[in-house]
């Protein structure tokens, strides 16, 4: 149940992987659609926190090309645009596949909708 909303927030957190660790590349994914409650306030508040190009790219990969290339403006976005954003962010669930870090090539497998984010001992960041 990784939604694109969470995918857009995720970066690789293995040791020494601090640059070029976002966005995680989606591979061999299968998706499921599930309806979610629409909240305009949440979307308008959330737009500034999104990495827009990464979102558009991931959405295209999953076959959703309703998003414009340019980031929406939270103040002026129309309801239609927000509905499209809502669908992409919250209703598209990745069920199977994997996410791969573009920097260190670490593979985070997704099975049954749950990504496995566990790291091995040697990948733990030094604290």
């Amino acid at each position: 149940m990784v939604r694109l909303l969470t995918h857009n927030l995720l970066a690789c957190h293995a040791r020494n992987c601090t640059s070029n660790n976002f966005p995680l590349e989606l591979r061999d994914v299968s998706v499921a659609l599930r309806e979610a409650d629409y909240s305009e306030d949440f979307l308008r508040g959330f737009i500034p926190r999104l990495e827009w190009p990464a979102l558009v790219q991931a959405a295209k990969q999953l076959g959703e090309d309703s998003l414009p290339e340019e980031p929406l403006d939270p103040a002026t976005a129309t309801e239609e645009q927000l509905k499209a954003l809502h669908h992409v962010l919250l209703e598209v669930h990745i069920e199977e596949g994997s996410m791969v870090c573009p920097g260190c090539q670490h593979v985070y497998p997704i099975s049954n909708g749950i990504p496995n984010m566990l790291l091995a001992e040697h990948e733990l960041a030094r604290s």
């Binding site: 909303l5 927030l9 306030d41 949440f42 990495e51 990504p115 984010m117 566990l118 790291l119 604290s127």
Partner: protein
């Protein structure tokens, strides 16, 4: 029984059968719900009621997530026990679930979450499972708090309820949180009750004022909320009574016992005298 975190690592302790028991137990459900509601109260989200993006650390089978769903929040949950997550999937909670060990740190972009809650989890970070210094409790705590601090927005809060086994553990956890840059501290509800006492680590990003713990003394506690603290007085009294046990082996008891032996015809029963049943002088 000893504390669960001393028995096995969480991913093993919460195996299939325990996970099922835990989730279907109505008492656990009620306590978890109470603590989640209290944690949300301490979280003090903006009052306009717009949905927020929350992180549920150690979401387990989604008992706390269900409450977040009801309030319309969007949440991301993580847990290290696959059996618990499986049950969460069966229960069809709305949030995104991750299999993740929180002691390894989070991999979220900075400044993305409106808040974080965690119910009965942090005590699991305080046990070392391997001898490697990277998985020692201080290292795990430090990674956890540093990445948590990074992923929260400014201003926002993280409310973490946990069961410390000693004051030292509270000190260890709070100092790790301070080092990561958090403000805030520990809020204790019902501090005088052994059973209802709940410790919330209330961490703040940015400058905020500290909430107060609920107090349950002098029987002022009004409603159900304080159900756990209700019989505290009585329990205290019973305990005191039990402590002062009367010494039953006094002079009368010894004389009665000797009489009994004599009537039974036992040999060598000492004579009764004025010294019977008297305490000896101290040796020095």
């Amino acid at each position: 029984m000893s504390r669960p975190e001393l028995q096995a690592p969480p991913e093993i302790y919460y195996g299939d059968s325990v996970a099922k028991k835990y989730t279907t137990n109505t008492r656990v459900q009620r306590i978890q719900a109470e603590m989640t509601n209290r944690a949300l109260e301490l979280l003090a989200l903006p009052p306009d009621g717009a949905p927020s993006l929350l992180l549920d650390i150690g979401c387990g089978s989604g008992l706390s997530g269900e409450i977040l769903d009801e309030l319309g929040h969007i949440w991301v949950g993580m847990d290290v026990a696959p059996s618990m997550l499986e049950i969460a999937l069966e229960r069809e909670v709305e949030g995104d679930l991750f299999l993740h060990d929180i002691g390894q740190g989070f991999g979220f972009r900075p400044g993305t979450f409106d808040g974080a809650i965690s119910i009965s989890v942090i005590q699991w970070l305080l046990n070392a499972e391997t001898s490697s210094p990277l998985s020692a409790p201080p290292a795990r705590l430090s990674r956890f708090f540093r990445t948590l601090h990074a992923l929260l927005r400014n201003p926002s809060r993280a409310v973490l309820q946990f069961y410390p086994s000693s004051d030292d553990q509270i000190a260890l956890v709070t100092s790790a949180a301070r080092k990561a840059g958090f403000g805030g501290g520990v809020v204790v509800d019902f501090p005088n009750s052994k059973k209802a006492r709940k410790v919330f680590l209330c961490l703040m990003v940015g400058e905020q004022s500290m909430p107060k713990g609920k107090d349950g003394v002098e029987g002022e506690i009004a409603d159900e909320e304080a159900a756990d603290a209700r019989f505290e007085k009585r329990r205290q009294r019973l305990k005191e009574r039990k402590g002062k046990k009367r010494n039953i082996k006094d002079r009368d008891w010894i004389i009665k016992k000797k009489e009994k032996y004599r009537t039974k015809g036992k040999e060598g029963v000492p004579r009764d005298s004025k010294y019977t049943g008297r305490k000896r002088k101290a040796a020095f």
